[in-house]
């Protein structure tokens, strides 16, 4: 059994530049077009992805326990964490907005953690799960990551806007910082992961490929 699938560029000793996409023989070491370093696969990407994910998780836990912002109204200070903020919105009667914040700050980060850990596990232990399905999961994490920043931006806006001294003012909570760091780290983790690993153990007979490139009308 070879290390790469028989239809892959790596099997021919060709490395696709991660920066510009140019294909060169891997012995060149650097891409001739953009000077980025060449590798058949991103080096140590599973280890790096896992390290980033674990660090992100360490920032994500306090992000859920500590307040994301504090409201001071006539001397009374009220602080709320992410989930309490969502519940407050729901009770205020803005259910659709509560759903948006809940999806962006709870569902999206949790889904990202689960998918990325699962992808690393499936590559490391070579589980025979359909590569196409895992590729879809990877694309989902790549796409949704940035949307978790919604709540952090809401805090930035409210802190700037609501500054009426003792009447009403809003201050950021430490969770806004740790949550933002956690989102950034999971985004880097998703970029570090090499999705080509999902296809390396594929046997060419599994695939019914008719043509080499699929050009369609763009809509």
């Amino acid at each position: 059994m070879t290390q790469y699938s028989s239809d892959s560029a790596a099997e021919q000793g060709l490395a696709s530049c991660q920066s510009c996409g140019k294909l060169s023989t891997v012995s060149n070491k650097f891409c001739r077009r953009c000077r980025a370093p060449l590798h058949l696969r991103k080096p140590y990407n599973i280890q790096k992805t896992l390290a980033l994910l674990i660090t992100a998780l360490m920032f994500y836990i306090p992000a859920n326990l500590y307040p994301i912002m504090a409201t001071e109204q006539l001397g009374m200070i009220e602080s709320a964490n992410i989930v309490e903020g969502v519940i407050a919105l729901w009770e205020m009667g803005s259910q659709p907005i509560a759903m948006v914040v809940f999806i962006a700050s709870v569902i999206v980060p949790v889904t990202k953690f689960i998918i990325l850990f699962w992808l690393c596990y499936s590559v490391r232990f070579n589980t025979h799960i359909d590569a196409a399905e895992r590729a879809v999961l990877y694309r989902i994490t790549e796409f949704i990551g940035r949307w978790s920043m919604v709540d952090v931006f809401v805090v930035a806006i409210l802190v700037a806007l609501i500054q009426l001294g003792s009447l009403l003012n809003v201050r950021p909570g430490i969770a806004a910082l740790t949550f933002a760091i956690s989102v950034v780290l999971t985004m880097i983790a998703a970029m570090t992961f090499d999705p080509r690993l999902l296809w390396d153990k594929l046997e060419s007979s599994d695939q019914q490929v008719t043509n080499k490139l699929n050009i369609t009308k763009d809509n």
């Binding site: 510009c20 009667g93 803005s94 907005i97 940035r146 930035a156 409210l158 296809w199 490139l213």
Partner: protein
């Protein structure tokens, strides 16, 4: 060898796609979009990038939102929305927010414009590949459209407790977001590098 290309998502080896406007190339193994070329892509990219940059600059100059409660009014600019956090441990967060919502989108649009204009005027220049590497590195870190959703969430959060006003900059930023999203649909890594190669050859 330049007649071949590999899918960035599954490393499937395939022939180099040369597209006509309105076509799109997909990897036949994993379905990843290899490249897409919109009709009139270069002209639209230049005009939407230029308009986007101008609107973004305009959106920094005027009031963004205002908030009135029991006769007290507070008005902020977009600049303040990004940087009012700048104190104590939140300095890092303020810098991040500013970069994600103003700096990176501006740099991306500016570099796209610079790349296309210099490609048209001077052909291949020594800084083209650096510009392209920067554009595609920064793209995932620009969150203008996410910020706009956050603005809408804040508005709805506040309308029940106070009077909320929107300023001229709000409109400018909304229009900028529309231009930016339009640019995102036109930007294509494969095409940009291909255009650079064509300029190099000629």
């Amino acid at each position: 060898m330049s007649t071949k290309i590999a899918c960035q998502h599954c490393d499937y080896l395939m022939s180099f796609p040369v597209l006509n406007p309105g076509q799109c190339a997909l990897c036949s193994r994993c379905g990843h979009k290899i490249s897409r070329l919109k009709v009139n892509a270069i002209n639209n990219l230049m005009s939407y990038s230029l308009t986007g940059v101008i609107l973004l600059i305009l959106s920094l100059l005027f009031p963004f939102m205002s908030f009135t409660l029991s006769g007290n009014m507070m008005e902020i600019t977009l600049w303040q929305a990004a940087t009012e956090l700048y104190s104590g441990p939140y300095k890092l967060l303020a810098l991040g927010v500013f970069a994600f919502i103003v700096l990176f989108p501006a740099v991306i649009l500016g570099f796209i414009l610079l790349f296309l204009v210099s490609l048209n005027l001077f052909g291949h220049t020594f800084y083209n590949s650096t510009l392209l590497r920067l554009i595609f590195t920064l793209l995932p870190w620009s969150m203008a459209e996410v910020f706009f959703v956050a603005v809408l969430v804040s508005l709805i959060k506040l309308v029940t407790i106070a009077q909320i006003g929107i300023g001229l900059s709000f409109g400018a930023y909304l229009l900028f977001c529309l231009c930016y999203v339009k640019v995102l649909t036109l930007v294509d890594k494969h095409q940009f590098w291909y255009w650079m190669d064509l300029a190099k050859k000629s």
